[in-house]
């Protein structure tokens, strides 16, 4: 029987979990190293690809061949150039030593898939606010790795895991604080037993441990330069490891010391916790803003939150916990494995999605689990509008489905033809994080041009219906009422390219 699998494809670490025979999530460890979490680092050899700890080691000797933080590139039109050792803008045909973010991610997925036999289907987690393009690229990565995949938002997965932990009984609102290596999400959900209703998710796609490491590097650089008169290479992957080590030490101690191998020889550099905390204060401010935003969107005060749940490795940093305490006015919950919660939740969700592949014990274990998610964006359309202040006709975004609307949802809005004898009408589907009217600040994810019947008059009715189902699929219907003509579009995050296109020149042994 196919294994019910969940994968946390993280910026810095990844993990894979399956539902065991009793229906409990179980994290699989790397059979070689026995590690339960695998660094999301890929070494690109000539005929071999290495993923994980060994790849990380290779960063020292062959830095250009080692790719890190690929997740941050998922939404971009870029390729990793082995020759240049960095991400570059994708132009025209790809060279043989260039790789797309989807291809690199596929190596990580393949590696995790190899931890056990019989893994064909999986649920892969993504940040709540991952853009459509990034979701699509993640699905492409799964395709290349030979996995049939569905996506779930990371904080949603974490809360699913939490509410299913033996001995945990939550009733009330839970705030999930998910600060990982690269992304930060805050989700508020109403939990009653094993029933989870997501209320809102907010996040920042570029806020995590990797950013903190970079700030530490800057401190090291300053100190090294002062002593030796020359800057260190901030892109040096080996030094990045040192910075990460310092960060980890500072979570437990007030000061950390390391020997820095700089351009002018080794130098002992120490960094204090205070220095580190001052260096990341802009990030902390962002964290505060997002927490406030989540509370506001959920229309609740900190005292209405029953529990705050920590997920992600960066929640080990003392100032992060202090910030949470300050805002929430109480300490967050301990006892959940911050590195594994997301993968475990994904495995439970995989069980919900594939009840036919479950045994009776597994079925029973998850029988009471229920998950209701919300729409994470404002979905709208672009309309012509007579701006009363500007005295001009301007194109603005008109919101149809509000953010945080519980799914499934269906909304119909009426519009009108603007001009007499207008020949066609352009319908668009827009997406935005904020309630934006300005078209500059929304993303057009689909467009459809329709003919209008001859002799159309200004004011003739038009209708737009958006229906969002639980799996994140959106169905759009555009209707020209006079002619009765309808056009339907189904928007579903799905891999954009054919497997042939994706796999081109990818024939590696993955280790």
């Amino acid at each position: 029987m196919a294994k019910v699998t969940g994968i946390d494809l993280g910026t810095t670490f990844s993990a894979i979990a399956i539902l065991d025979d009793l229906g409990n999530p179980e994290v699989l460890s790397d059979p070689e190293t026995n590690n339960r979490i695998t660094p999301s680092v890929v070494y690109l050899g000539t005929d071999k690809v290495i993923v994980g700890d060994k790849a990380k080691d290779a960063a020292v000797t062959k830095p250009k061949n080692v790719v890190k933080e690929t997740k941050r590139q998922m939404e971009n039109e870029v390729v990793y150039s082995k020759k240049q050792g960095e991400w570059i803008e994708k132009k025209g045909k790809m060279l043989s030593d260039e790789y797309t973010p989807s291809q690199i991610s596929s190596f990580i997925l393949s590696k995790l898939k190899g931890f056990s036999s019989g893994i064909k289907k999986a649920v892969v987690t993504v940040p709540a606010l991952f853009a459509e393009t990034a979701r699509s690229a993640t699905l492409d990565a799964a395709k290349i790795a030979g996995l049939e995949v569905e996506l779930i938002n990371e904080p949603t997965a974490a809360i699913l895991h939490y509410s299913n932990l033996p001995g945990v009984s939550v009733s009330g609102r839970v705030l999930v604080f998910d600060l990982g290596g690269g992304t930060f999400d805050v989700t508020i959900a109403a939990v009653k037993g094993k029933k989870v209703d997501v209320i809102t998710s907010v996040g920042d796609k570029e806020l995590g441990g990797a950013d903190f490491d970079r700030e530490i590097l800057k401190i090291i650089d300053k100190k090294y330069k002062k002593k030796k008169g020359k800057s260190i290479d901030l892109e040096d992957k080996k030094l990045a490891e040192v910075a990460e080590r310092i960060k980890k030490v500072l979570s437990a101690k007030e000061e950390a010391q390391e020997i820095i191998e700089g351009p002018k020889g080794p130098e002992k550099v120490s960094v204090s916790r205070k220095e580190f905390e001052d260096s990341i204060d802009t990030y902390i401010e962002k964290i505060k803003m997002l927490m406030e935003q989540a509370l506001e969107m959920a229309k609740c005060k900190p005292e209405n939150i029953a529990q705050t749940l920590l997920v992600g490795g960066s929640t080990r940093i003392p100032i992060v916990v202090d910030t949470i305490k300050k805002i929430m006015k109480k300490a967050p919950v301990k006892g959940v494995n911050v590195d594994e919660a997301v993968a475990c939740g994904a495995a439970i969700y995989a069980g919900l999605q594939n009840t036919s592949s479950l045994n009776s014990a597994q079925k029973k274990a998850i029988s009471k689990v229920e998950l209701n998610d919300v729409c994470n964006f404002y979905m709208g359309t672009i309309v012509a509008f007579d701006d009363h202040e500007k005295r001009q006709t301007v194109r603005v975004n008109d919101i149809i489905i509000e953010r945080n609307t519980p799914l499934p949802a269906s909304v119909t809005k009426d519009y009108q033809v603007k001009y007499d004898d207008q020949p066609t009408i352009r319908f668009s589907v827009t997406q935005s994080e904020g309630a934006e009217n300005d078209i500059e600040f929304v993303v057009v994810i689909a467009e459809e041009v329709m003919d209008l019947p001859k002799g159309s008059k200004a004011g003739d009715p038009l209708k737009i219906t958006y229906s969002y189902d639980k799996s994140g699929k959106m169905h759009c219907v555009f209707e020209v009422c006079k002619s009765g003509k309808k056009k339907e579009l189904t928007l579903k995050p799905e891999g954009s390219k054919s497997i042939k296109e994706l796999k081109e020149s990818l024939d590696f042994e993955i280790e």
């Binding site: 939404e75 971009n76 039109e77 803008e89 606010l129 853009a131 393009t133 990034a134 907010v202 920042d204 796609k205 570029e206 204060d281 802009t282 990030y283 401010e285 962002k286 505060k288 803003m289 406030e292 935003q293 509008f385 007579d386 701006d387 009363h388 202040e389 500007k390 005295r391 001009q392 001009y419 007499d420 935005s432 994080e433 904020g434 934006e436 300005d438 500059e440 600040f441 993303v443 008059k457 200004a458 004011g459």
Partner: protein, 415 residues
């Protein structure tokens, strides 16, 4: 004899009394008749279809969803006068009758800035409401509100003290209005109007047409003056101005377009020279623009200034300051201006804020408490954070910078 006389006198008295009685009766009857007539008249008067317009100020506290400000409260009363048992459409139009000789002259049309109060195919003011299943005796016994009209959406032909005529017509519900006229006068069943004085503070649309050319020239000169603030005139900046001038002349008939092109060429050349020699008086230019341009053009001018400023992919501190000042002087809406500027900021590669990241750029004002500022900045953060996923790498970079500036700015307010 004495008795006879007495009898005679008594007869007279009786006769006189009778006469008096008759007269009295006649008089009182007449009075009652008059009273009755008056009553009927009043009743008829009450039934007559009437319109009343009063001014009403809505404050923030009582707004009930309506934006606070000054409104015209349009009320009506009386008999609909619709002969059949079908729907009746109440149609309200407004004309400016300041310069009309007679009260019932047609007057100049008043336009609307808000789509809700526009005719279907033009900007002419119009408001209609359909009353269903009305009969010949349907009527409003008391004054009833038809609509509240925000005064700031009205666009008059001329600036200053004007006399408005509110025309209310009851008609068949199929009646269409175009440019203030009805498609079929036979469908009109009742009509009433009310006059009201109103001071229009903006430039009227008739004046706007008259000032068009002057205002265009002023706009070009202002842009030149701004482009020169950093000491030199960039070709890119000049191109934006030229393109704008070209788009204006292209709208005209070939003959007029040619003439206009020549004119703009001259203006651009002249102002280029003046700008270089720093001879353009910015304060005079702004004052003229404020006096002569209508709202629509003021926004067009600000847009062009922003486009010129951003033409070199850089919004310089000097330029930003310059435009902020003009926007303030010509009194355009702060939020709308901010929206226009955000759009420019999202698209330029480099940005320098005047002195430190200006609070103004994020909609912060001095009268806000720290708490309000924190909240406003959070809103800005959401806006720019959403933009950090933009496909265009330039826009993405800009958005990331903005997010950092916002987070840094917020630290100052102990949020």
């Amino acid at each position: 004899m004495y008795q006879e006389v007495l009898l005679l006198e008594l007869n007279w008295v009786i006769i006189i009394l009778i006469v008096i009685g008759v007269i009295y009766n006649l008089v009182t009857e007449k009075k009652e008749e008059e009273q009755r007539k008056e009553k009927v008249n009043k009743f008829l008067q009450d039934l007559k279809f009437q319109i009343r317009v009063t001014e009403q100020t809505i404050t923030k506290n009582e707004s009930d969803g309506l934006p606070p400000g000054k409104y015209f409260n349009v009320e009506m009363k009386g008999l609909f006068g619709h002969p059949t048992e079908s729907n009746t459409k109440a149609i309200l139009t407004i004309t400016d009758n300041t310069d009309s000789e007679k009260e019932d002259d047609f007057g100049l049309m008043v336009l609307s800035a808000h789509p809700f109060f526009m005719e279907k195919q033009s900007r002419v003011f119009n408001f209609s409401h359909v009353y269903e299943n009305t009969t010949s005796d349907t009527y409003f016994p008391e004054w009833s509100r038809l609509i509240l009209i925000p005064q700031d959406i009205l666009i008059l032909p001329m600036k200053g003290k004007r006399r408005l005529k509110f025309n209310l017509t009851m008609s068949d519900d199929t009646t269409e209005v175009k440019h203030g006229g009805y498609d079929d006068l036979d469908k009109i069943k009742g009509h009433a109007y009310a006059l009201k004085n109103f001071t229009f503070k903006e430039i009227g649309y008739v004046e706007e047409v008259g000032n068009k050319s002057i205002v265009q020239d002023l706009t070009i000169k202002l842009c030149m003056a701004m482009a020169a603030t950093d000491g030199h005139l960039d070709q890119k900046e000049l191109n934006v101005i030229k393109d704008w001038a070209k788009s204006l002349s292209d709208e005209l008939e070939p003959e007029a377009a040619k003439e206009k092109k020549e004119h703009f060429k001259k203006i651009i050349k002249e102002s280029y020279k003046e700008a270089k020699e720093k001879k353009l008086s910015i304060s005079n230019l702004v004052k003229d623009l404020n006096d002569k341009a209508g709202k629509a053009h003021k926004y067009l001018a600000i847009q062009l200034l922003l486009d010129v400023a951003a033409s070199d992919s850089k919004l310089a501190a000097e330029e930003e300051k310059f435009i902020n000042k003009i926007a303030k002087t010509i009194n355009i809406d702060v939020q709308t201006f901010k929206g226009m500027k955000d759009k420019i900021i999202a698209n330029v590669e480099n940005i320098e804020f005047s002195e430190r990241p200006s609070e103004e750029s994020f909609g912060l004002t001095e009268d806000m408490s720290n708490e309000e500022k924190c909240k406003a900045l959070r809103k800005e953060y959401t806006k720019w954070n959403g933009q950090t996923a933009h496909k265009d790498p330039k826009k993405k970079k800009r958005a990331k910078e903005m997010v950092k500036i916002i987070a840094d700015l917020r630290k100052q307010y102990n949020c």
